[in-house]
């Protein structure tokens, strides 16, 4: 069917096993969760960040990797407790802050995926190491 024809599948590396899907929110820049994302609102607050003002809640959050303070792991946990966490996380190359944050918050996460192929608005499903991508619009009938 149409979604089968348009879908692209990537194999990544599992950081936190799980299944989740949602609309992609893509940042070309790293994200530092402590001071960069508000745990109470889910909004990106870092001044001048490409995602400034946008909500990460329920999105498949796609970015190169983490940066900043190690306490950032706990901001992801806070987002999860407030039901504002990303549905899944996809990194180019994972680092400890976001990896630990995803594990303690039960957010499915993979890395080593060609994130430049993913655009904001695409529909993405993460299942273990498998990332399936439907370009924006091709899965609108779902």
């Amino acid at each position: 069917m149409k979604e089968q024809e348009d879908a692209v599948v990537f194999m990544g590396r599992v950081i936190k096993d799980g299944v989740a899907e949602g609309e992609a929110l893509v940042s070309p820049e790293p994200i530092g969760f402590l001071g960069g994302v508000d745990g109470a609102t889910g909004l990106v607050t870092e001044r001048g960040h490409p995602l400034e003002g946008q909500s990460v809640a329920g999105k498949v959050l796609v970015f190169p990797g983490g940066k900043g303070s190690t306490v950032g792991s706990y901001v992801l946990y806070q987002l999860a407790r407030n039901r504002l966490a990303p549905a899944a996380i996809i990194n180019q190359e994972s680092e400890p802050i976001v990896a630990v944050g995803a594990i303690i918050s039960d957010i499915p996460m993979v890395d080593r995926v060609p994130i430049a192929r993913i655009r904001t608005g695409d529909f993405v499903r993460v299942a273990g190491s498998e990332v399936t991508l439907w370009p924006a619009g091709t899965r609108a009938a779902e």
């Binding site: 590396r13 936190k16 190690t70 306490v71 792991s73 946990y77 994972s94 630990v100 594990i103 303690i104």
Partner: protein, 408 residues
């Protein structure tokens, strides 16, 4: 990555949700750093204890993990708290903050840290946790990591907060980085142009080397040290702590002094040589200009990392029979303070108007909220974090100068 049958079973949940979560963290970190397997660790040292740093989200997570059944499987020690767990009122800490900090300690107790009665300190090696040469451990406090690796010859990476807790719960860490022989060779030869003499001088030297080498493995030659040196451990403790603060040095060698340098002369780096000095640059690099807003020092802090008995004795002798004009706080591990009390050292410091606090670290405490603006300290690490975490102005100066400033 290779996992044992037991590790696979734990990941499947056979040992409960807390162990599964802990092993997921350890395995993920091991993968990220390219480990081929996990290794058992003899001990773990946990950082991320201050309520000020953890925040409510961190505390909530710790509570959740305890409720899932998190218990440590190997002997585990704990980093300092934001306050003295007994004498916090004397520090001026408010009751609400204290209640939060007490809850954090209770959660670590429930995990079995410190046998259920953790002694918060950044110097576990001064209160009996001294891994042998070659022992694999998973420590988190950067100054304790560099001490364990360099002065004791044990093997640990710089673990993160939750990563160290996870390592304690599963008793394992990834076999990567400084656990491997190849990563322990020095990468830069360091010569001190201006020979350090006092403990604070070693801190100033470390500040410069850390700034200039970042995450290198320095090999020091020509330091005026020998194995019979008075205060040798204090000097090495200060040197390492400073390099771990201004850089991310986790291991260094000193020719003829540190155990791996003595065991293997081939460790010495070939190639790049760094000449460091004068030490005055190290002191200046971590001091705020004298003409800043806070014109006068309003607190002296000694004990970063936590003071040894020798360091407390030095302060007690200097203050004996004199009177301080501003507060002077010494921080140390509670058992070290207990011995200092038995020897009458704490009484001498208190008679002069100073205090000896246990459990606490000022850098992660609410120093600014307590009203202090300009703190003098003989520790480069203390100065670095007072500026960057506690956000107060700092004078990093030799110990005698700090004491004189408080007595003048």
């Amino acid at each position: 990555m290779y996992l044992t049958d037991e590790e696979r079973a734990w990941l499947a949940g056979d040992a409960g949700p807390a162990t599964r979560r802990a092993l997921e963290i350890v395995v993920a970190l091991a993968r990220i750093y390219g480990a081929e397997r996990l290794i058992p660790v003899e001990s773990v040292q946990i950082s991320g204890v201050s309520y000020r740093n953890l925040g409510d989200a961190g505390v909530e997570f710790l509570r959740h993990w305890v409720e899932e059944g998190a218990r440590v499987r190997v002997p585990t020690t704990l980093n300092p708290a934001a306050m003295d767990m007994v004498d916090w009122t004397a520090q001026g800490i408010d009751a609400d903050f204290a209640a939060h900090q007490q809850e954090v300690l209770a959660l670590f107790s429930a995990m079995g840290v410190g046998g259920g009665a953790p002694v918060p300190t950044c110097t576990p090696y001064l209160i009996g946790s001294r891994p042998a040469m070659g022992a694999h451990v998973a420590w988190a406090e950067s100054s304790a990591v560099v001490f364990a690796n360099s002065v004791l010859g044990a093997r640990t990476n710089r673990e993160g907060g939750p990563g160290a807790i996870a390592a304690a719960i599963v008793g394992r860490t990834g076999a990567y980085g400084l656990h491997l022989d190849a990563q322990r060779r020095s990468t830069v030869l360091v010569k001190a142009n201006d020979p350090p003499r006092t403990i604070a001088d070693y801190s100033a030297l470390g500040a410069l080397v850390g700034q200039q080498t970042r995450n290198a493995v320095p090999y020091f030659v020509g330091l005026p040290l020998d194995l019979e040196e008075p205060l040798l451990e204090e000097k090495l403790k200060a040197l390492g702590a400073a390099m771990a603060a201004t850089g991310s040095v986790a291991l260094y060698h000193v020719a003829g002094i540190t155990p791996e340098a003595r065991a293997d002369p081939q460790l010495a780096a070939t190639g790049e040589t760094l000449a460091v000095g004068p030490l005055a640059e190290g002191y200046a690099a971590l001091s705020d200009p004298a003409d800043s807003d806070a014109a006068d020092i309003d607190l002296v802090w000694i004990g970063c990392p936590h003071a040894s008995l020798h360091e407390i004795a030095y302060v007690a002798a200097a203050l004996d029979g004199r009177t301080l004009r501003i507060p002077l706080w010494v921080t140390s591990a509670r058992p070290v303070k207990a011995v200092a009390e038995m020897q009458g050292l704490v009484a001498k410091i208190e008679a002069a108007g100073g205090r000896v606090f246990a459990d606490a670290c000022l850098a992660i405490g609410p120093v600014r909220e307590l009203g202090y603006r300009l703190v003098a300290t003989p520790s480069a690490k203390g100065a670095y974090y007072l500026r960057n975490l506690a956000q107060v102005s700092v004078q990093f100066a030799p110990l005698d100068a700090c004491l004189e400033a408080a007595l003048r």
